[in-house]
Subunit: 354 residues, 2 copies
């Protein structure tokens, strides 16, 4: 059958959203779907809705020049992300009813309540859009309700990019491990913290390492989400909610960051053939799931001990497959953007199978 | 919609085939399909065809007691695996036409030509059966032709168990990494060889380690397929054919086994913070794929160096996701049987989506 034509509503258009649009063009000949961007909402660069299709090259050049997208809109006005979703939904009602509209959510994580991402996802699903997000908030704070809503609306809610960028974690379990029960996991899943701990081992100062991560666009201007373990806790909550069928938020995760780890600690560990790593983990204990994020002193034979700098890994404990690990050797913006692309490709695949 | 009902034709009923049938029963409540076994072909315990369904508990007890399955057959006779496929195809022609018959191939690898597995797969596809195999031969010797045939017949040819048991490798790429190009790979993918090398490091003798693997049911009575690198070469050929779009056989893989590795070599490497591992690898060089299996001296920071005893891992080099690894921490018969189960589950999933 012919390739599905998807209309994309981009909520958030920062580094990830921009890279996603470029990536779609770069690998266009490998995709089995057609696409056009019909709306873009940004925090600081205005918004545009055009059901006939936004000129994305123009939109990219405007945002890169620090200018507003409003000039691309026939009736420019002040709009929140929610406003854009609702107006786009009205303008694209027929396509949404045909299951051909996808909301691409890439706003910044808010660790208090996961907003406004949770509301974005809910509004988009209610408007019969599929939703794909790289934001950890929706799966970490509201997975159960959003997944039920998606099910009711017969749309999908995907979030592969929430944990290890485009490295398959949720899709790994959902698509390749049918009938397997996940009993727990251990992982190194925060890149900035892992880079800092690796830098301390090399004798670099903590603050220097933070600045290097900021310069490379990996750590935020406020690095506390990474350094205090909040980012890892949000990922842990998402993993627990989705893979272990529990219902928690990042605030239920027992959490210790890496601020107390000194260079002396890190180098002393290495001298004893050990390594300190920020480990995220969960296990079932008497019917309840216990989740935690904390620096652990790892023996050199621990599979997490070998992860240096930008490497991440997640080891799942399963009933039928024993312990199985997925490893990310170095991260990049392309990998994060790819997470969105792979989720959209799976939506297209499902449409073709209808 | 209702759960698909699948008829299973088992060609090969050794440890893996038997464990598969038990596993289906053990996790029955988690499966989204119904199943019955309609035929079993064995090398030494006769065969049975019964379109109404074979009593698998009885079949298991017969084979475990060393008795023949012929007593279960209404018209028992001497049949090869190919005979069973063809006779079952005639008896189940309507179901096969409805895409509800799956041939489960679990015969032993023949490293010369991949037979009789290749012929089994071809005959089953020609009879409109789906095919699932744990045998490396078909993908290593004849992937291109068999995949084309499956495509023509509108049936699937799956072989997740050919490399790393039930740990997703082929499904990982096919189902979770759309539009990604695989440029190469490196892996430790032969369990017996890895156990022997680990044992040498501990001071155990080579032959002792081989015997331990045989006792644990991992190495064959003739361990040369493992020790001489043939098993790893067959897996390498399958990976190259399927993931890199080349057309090779195990005999095109540059191959050196581990017979020349001494305990002194292994312990000397460890003393220098290195490890000798049997590494399977492939890369593109000037438009051609270069594939090899050989013992390599690995630095301790190499992700393959940390794999001891029964651990396996495969690292894929990709264009969009960088380097991504999948790790198996310990193998078991259940994992191999699960490979068959996961492939059957995916067939059921596709039937539901029709």
């Amino acid at each position: 059958m012919s390739a599905p034509a998807l209309s994309l509503v981009l909520i958030g258009f920062g580094h990830v959203g921009q890279r996603f649009v470029k990536l779609l063009s770069e690998v266009a000949e490998r995709l089995d779907f057609e696409w056009r961007v019909v709306a873009i909402a940004t925090r600081r660069h205005g918004s545009v809705i055009d059901p006939k299709g936004v000129d994305t090259a123009h939109a990219l050049s405007l945002v890169e020049a620090g200018l507003s997208l409003d000039v691309l809109d026939a009736e420019p006005r002040e709009r929140s992300g929610l406003d854009v979703i609702r107006q786009a939904a009205r303008a694209l009602a027929d396509e949404a009813a045909e299951s051909r509209v996808v909301c691409i959510e890439s706003t910044v994580l808010d660790i208090d309540h996961g907003e406004p991402a949770v509301s974005h996802v809910r509004a988009a699903l209610e408007a019969q859009m599929h939703v794909v997000t790289v934001n950890k908030g929706p799966a970490a704070f509201a997975y159960d309700g959003l997944e039920s809503l998606a099910d009711t609306m017969d749309r999908v809610f995907f979030f592969e990019g929430a944990v290890m960028d485009g490295i398959p974690v949720f899709n790994l379990v959902r698509e390749t491990m049918p009938a397997v029960r996940i009993d727990g996991f251990r992982g190194v899943i925060n890149t900035t913290a892992n880079f800092i701990l690796s830098a301390l081992e090399r004798g670099q100062a903590f603050d220097d390492a933070v600045r290097e991560m900021q310069t490379r666009g990996i750590a935020e201007a406020d690095p506390s989400l990474d350094v205090d373990g909040w980012d890892a806790a949000a990922k842990t909550a998402a993993l627990v909610n989705v893979l272990m069928g529990s219902v928690i938020t990042p605030h239920h995760v027992q959490r210790t960051g890496i601020r107390e780890v000194t260079g002396l600690d890190a180098r002393d560990a290495v001298a004893r053939h050990k390594r300190i790593r920020l480990v995220a983990s969960a296990s079932r204990q008497g019917g309840k799931v216990k989740a935690r994020v904390e620096p652990e002193m790892l023996d050199h034979q621990d599979p997490l001990a070998g992860l240096v700098d930008l490497n991440n890994a997640l080891y799942l404990t399963t009933d039928l497959l024993g312990e199985i690990g997925i490893v990310q050797r170095g991260g990049s913006l392309t990998q994060t953007a790819y997470a969105l692309l792979s989720d959209v490709a799976r939506i297209s695949q499902r449409l073709k199978e209808l």
